[in-house]
């Protein structure tokens, strides 16, 4: 802007005489400028408009003939410009719209990946394959302690307790643990159990091959049974950085009384 104004000031000195041939336009313009000066426009604005107006008068002279053609060309060019500009804007908006639709379709597998990474939801857990048991190798360096806990619901009259308080094992090794349940009453009682693993994040690595949970177990009066749990901890436990400080896992079973005609909402487990 400074350079341009400098250039035009030079040309102005050269072309000053022809400028005087059109006194009306320039006088009107200068009157406008002076009125601006009188207004609260500010001195800088005034000087800028002065420069601007002087610049504007010159190109018209330089062009000479074809004065009107130039303006018409600029108008149509302007129209073209606005048209192309509108078109590009519309294209961008359309692309953004298509992008949003694509993102909403892609969000399903992306969310699944996120669930796998963070362990939230628990439903989408990678690598929970029964064939893993055959091929897994125990990680002998990482010794974990598994604590066993047994609970019953308040109205459940069974005596339920673990037969060992703890077991030391390594990930990748299948282990057996026992609970004992006794029905001290004179009536047969049907129980159903569920389990919990603490810490929660370790729960996704805790795989039970076979246990006694989620199915109704019936105990006759004064009957006592051993209930085994056959489980293993996934060897990938050792590679998870969040599990680096976890050395104790607690497995907790809770027995509830199953009433006739009542069914617990089970996690994807189907009765036959």
């Amino acid at each position: 802007m400074v350079i341009i104004s400098g250039v035009w000031t030079d040309l102005r000195t050269m072309l000053l005489p022809p400028c005087l041939l059109r006194p009306h336009a320039s006088s009107m313009l200068s009157q406008c400028v002076q009125s601006l000066a009188r207004c609260h426009a500010g001195r800088t604005l005034h000087s800028q408009t002065v420069h601007f107006l002087q610049r504007r008068t010159l190109p018209v002279h330089l062009q000479g003939r074809g004065n009107r053609g130039h303006s018409r060309k600029s108008k149509s060019q302007e129209q073209e410009d606005t048209k192309t500009r509108n078109r590009t804007v519309l294209t961008y908006i359309a692309a953004a719209g298509v992008g949003m639709i694509g993102l909403s379709y892609a969000s399903v597998p992306l969310y699944r990946l996120y669930c796998q990474a963070t362990g939230l939801g628990g439903a989408a857990v990678a690598g929970h394959d029964t064939s893993v048991v055959e091929t897994m190798k125990p990680v002998k360096e990482r010794v974990l302690k598994v604590l066993f806990n047994a609970d019953t619901h308040a109205s459940m009259q069974w005596n339920f307790r673990p037969q060992q308080t703890e077991i030391y094992l390594v990930p990748g090794e299948t282990a057996l643990a026992f609970y004992r349940a006794k029905n001290p009453t004179d009536k047969p009682i049907i129980g159903i159990s569920t389990y919990n693993v603490v810490p929660f994040e370790a729960g996704q690595y805790f795989n039970k091959i076979q246990c006694f949970c989620f199915e109704e177990q019936r105990l006759n009066p004064h009957e006592e049974v051993d209930m085994p749990v056959f489980f293993y901890i996934d060897p990938e436990f050792d590679e998870d950085p969040r599990m680096a400080r976890v050395n104790t896992i607690t497995l907790s079973y809770t027995f509830f009384e199953a009433k006739e005609g009542q069914s617990l909402p089970l996690p994807g487990y189907s009765y036959k």
């Binding site: 125990p138 919990n196 949970c213």
Partner: protein, 97 residues
């Protein structure tokens, strides 16, 4: 079990067992094997890797008495015990097989 619909709280979602539920051993048919296993655990300060043979025996007993679906022991993670030569089995003097 968390009942609140807090997405922020990580909650535990129990999973059903891979091979289903053990039928209850009402008649105590495999009680001796269980006792052997528990004794082994007590003697080895509850170290599971020392007592794998006894756990394998217990599961074999269950399979014998229809208390567990019969499966090759490799599938249950006992490949390392199986691979060791049969001299181990002979030493143990198993009543089964």
């Amino acid at each position: 079990m968390s009942t609140a619909m807090n997405f922020g709280n990580k909650s535990f979602k129990p999973r059903p067992p891979d091979k289903g539920s053990f039928p209850l051993d009402h008649f105590g048919e495999c009680k001796e094997f269980k006792e052997k296993f528990m004794k082994c655990l007590k003697n080895n300060s509850y170290d599971n890797s020392q007592c794998r043979l006894q756990s394998k025996d217990y599961l074999e007993c269950r399979m014998e008495h229809q208390l567990m679906a019969k499966e090759p022991l490799e599938k249950l993670g006992f490949k390392d015990i199986m691979d060791s030569p049969l001299s181990q089995a002979e030493k143990n003097d198993k009543p089964l097989n």
